[in-house]
């Protein structure tokens, strides 16, 4: 682990990504302290004003402070990312472990169900789920989570099947260790590398999916400021108030950029094939 952290620090690119993400997390956690205003306070005398000392990033069509909204938006976007990916990853982990370890009929059933979900187009699946559950933040996260689940399930399953071939697993089975114990103690730790990499990449995917749903009006509900919502709302005003689109765009691009950087370098670090 120590070596791993050291290597991550040596890898400047990955470190940059990590620091960027930590910054966003910090922004989100300290939002009430950093943001000068509440995200939904409307200064109706200051509609669509450019950046100034009073409004660092300018104001939007309601006269809300874009800077504050971006900071609070970090909360929403990260929350969507983390919880949605959490749902997808944990669900996928459990199903993948069961499927990969026991194989046979259970595997068949789980994988066919996943195939069904996999065959649905992402956005349309999310759209349908939200239509059924009703649009709100929680359901958006659940929908994105379900969309991501098949990918995680497949990944975990194939990793489990590789690890299972190892001798120590066979030995553990031979001396009658309970399957649940083998899965928890021996298999799970050994499939973490690809799993973690996939999580970082899925995080950026979740934030993008939320943005796409916002475009269709089914993302986070107003006046909650997710970056996707801000970006979409700003499209109307971007020509005469470019700051309304610029700052949310930079926020979303930089965050996803950092997640991808971290994901890439984690993949390089954790992949034994790529070791120098």
């Amino acid at each position: 682990m120590k070596v791993f952290v050291q290597r991550l620090i040596d890898d400047k690119v990955g470190l940059f990504g990590l620091i960027g993400i930590l910054l966003v997390v910090l922004l989100a956690l300290l939002a009430p302290l950093i943001a000068p205003y509440k995200p939904d306070t409307m200064f109706t005398e200051h509609v669509l004003e450019g950046p100034s000392s009073q409004f660092l990033f300018g104001t939007d069509e309601f006269g809300r402070d874009i800077f504050s909204r971006i900071i609070y938006g970090a909360q929403v976007s990260l929350q969507v990312g983390l919880i949605a990916v959490g749902i997808g990853a944990i669900g996928g982990l459990i199903l993948g472990l069961i499927s990969g370890y026991f194989q046979g009929k259970v595997d068949q059933v789980i994988m066919r169900v996943m195939d069904v979900f996999f065959a649905f187009p992402d956005i349309l699946l999310a759209l349908t789920i939200i239509a059924v559950l009703g649009p709100n933040l929680t359901n958006t996260m659940i929908a994105i989570g379900i969309v991501f689940m098949p990918v995680f399930t497949r990944l975990v399953r194939s990793a489990v099947m590789t690890v299972k071939e190892n001798e120590y697993i066979t030995n553990a089975q031979a001396i009658g260790v309970r399957p649940s114990l083998i899965i928890v103690r021996h298999i799970t730790p050994n499939i973490m590398a690809p799993f973690i990499v996939q999580i970082t990449l899925a995080l950026s995917g979740a934030i993008l999916t939320e943005a796409a749903l916002s475009f269709l009006g089914l993302g986070v509900q107003p006046p909650n400021p997710s970056w996707g919502v801000m970006l979409n709302d700003a499209r109307t005003y971007m020509e005469f108030a470019p700051w309304t689109i610029l700052f949310p765009a930079v926020a979303i691009v930089m965050t996803i950029f950092c997640f991808n950087l971290l994901g890439d370098s984690l993949r390089d670090l954790l992949d034994p094939k790529l070791k120098q």
């Binding site: 069904v116 349309l124 950026s204 499209r235």
Partner: protein
């Protein structure tokens, strides 16, 4: 091989059956009513009931499913509840456009991403490598609706250019068709290119470390031969995986771009039908997309065995 393909095709059946069940019954849970959407605020109770009866929505759900499914099995996807048109020909017509969009953006992204990925891989950790990686990552990081709108605005303001309106098929008027498809393909291609580039780079890196590359160099081969005939060809297998996945995703995921660029593709059809609760169209389209998606996956698997002699299917 043929046996394998047939077996895989047979495996489609439960998946498609699952998709059909999921979509059919989900639609019946979704709040919203096609009759009400069609007739709007002017509807009377009687006209609503009449319309629902016309669509068979007053019968038990299971019965509705069986009627629909037996039609589908005979190749009859039914008629649209809103437009009254046959569903299947509509889907096929729309699919042509989505397919063209997918293929164009894929090709566009490959011609940019694969060479760049190779260069970045060869020149690992140089400035070139970093530049290429950063640019490609930025491409993946921009939500495509934002990129599309900004592009439209900038082109209109600076070059007073906007894509021609009114889609025409490629075979009707290829030049106009390409003009229409160019911008949307660029937008979709940008995100794709990023992912393909990253995969190309890391595969090339991995392959260049293999022993056989040293063997080929030891033969006195030019670097170009080493890279293109051997490294790239070996790297194509993981690249193909990601390309296959993306094509699959794109086939159902061009909704937003189709809407922004007014392209009458499959994504728009589904979106419109969802808004109108046009069940027959949604069901048919989703089933079709799922079918194509699984087919693309199968195609990718078959391509694997073509590219890699070690992979044989029995």
């Amino acid at each position: 091989m043929y046996a394998y393909i047939i077996r895989r095709l047979l495996m489609l059946v439960p998946v498609l059956f699952g998709v059909s069940v999921v979509i059919f019954f989900t639609l019946r849970i979704i709040p919203g009513d096609v009759a009400q959407t069609i007739l709007g605020t002017d509807a009377t109770k009687e006209s609503l009931a009449q319309l629902r009866k016309d669509f068979g929505l007053d019968r038990p759900v299971i019965e509705q499913y069986i009627t629909w499914m037996s039609g589908v099995l005979m190749g009859d996807f039914g008629e649209s509840m809103t437009t009254g048109r046959e569903v299947l020909p509509d889907i096929l017509n729309r699919f042509k456009i989505t397919f063209e969009l997918t293929i164009l953006s894929a090709i566009l992204s490959w011609i940019i991403a694969i060479p760049l990925g190779v260069i970045a891989g060869i020149k690992r950790n140089t400035k070139t490598d970093f530049t290429v990686r950063i640019v490609s990552l930025l491409g993946v990081s921009i939500p495509n609706f934002a990129l599309a709108t900004v592009l439209i605005l900038i082109l209109a303001l600076t070059f007073s250019y906007s894509p021609p309106v009114g889609y025409v098929g490629f075979f009707e008027d290829p030049i106009r068709n390409l003009q229409i498809m160019l911008l949307p393909s660029i937008v979709l291609g940008t995100a794709m290119a990023g992912a393909v580039m990253r995969m190309t780079r890391s595969s090339i890196l991995e392959i260049l470390r293999q022993d056989f590359i040293r063997t080929i160099r030891a033969k006195g081969a030019k670097e170009r031969l080493v890279i293109f005939n051997h490294a790239l060809r070996n790297a194509m297998i993981p690249i193909l995986t990601i390309i296959g996945m993306q094509i699959g995703v794109l086939l159902g995921g061009t909704v937003i771009i189709e809407q922004i660029f007014s392209l009458p593709g499959l994504g728009q059809l589904v979106l419109t039908s969802i808004n109108q609760r046009d069940f027959t169209v949604i069901q048919g389209a989703i089933l079709f997309i799922a079918f194509v998606f699984v087919l693309v996956n199968l195609l990718v698997d078959i391509l694997y065995s073509y590219l890699d002699p070690r992979i044989t299917y029995k």
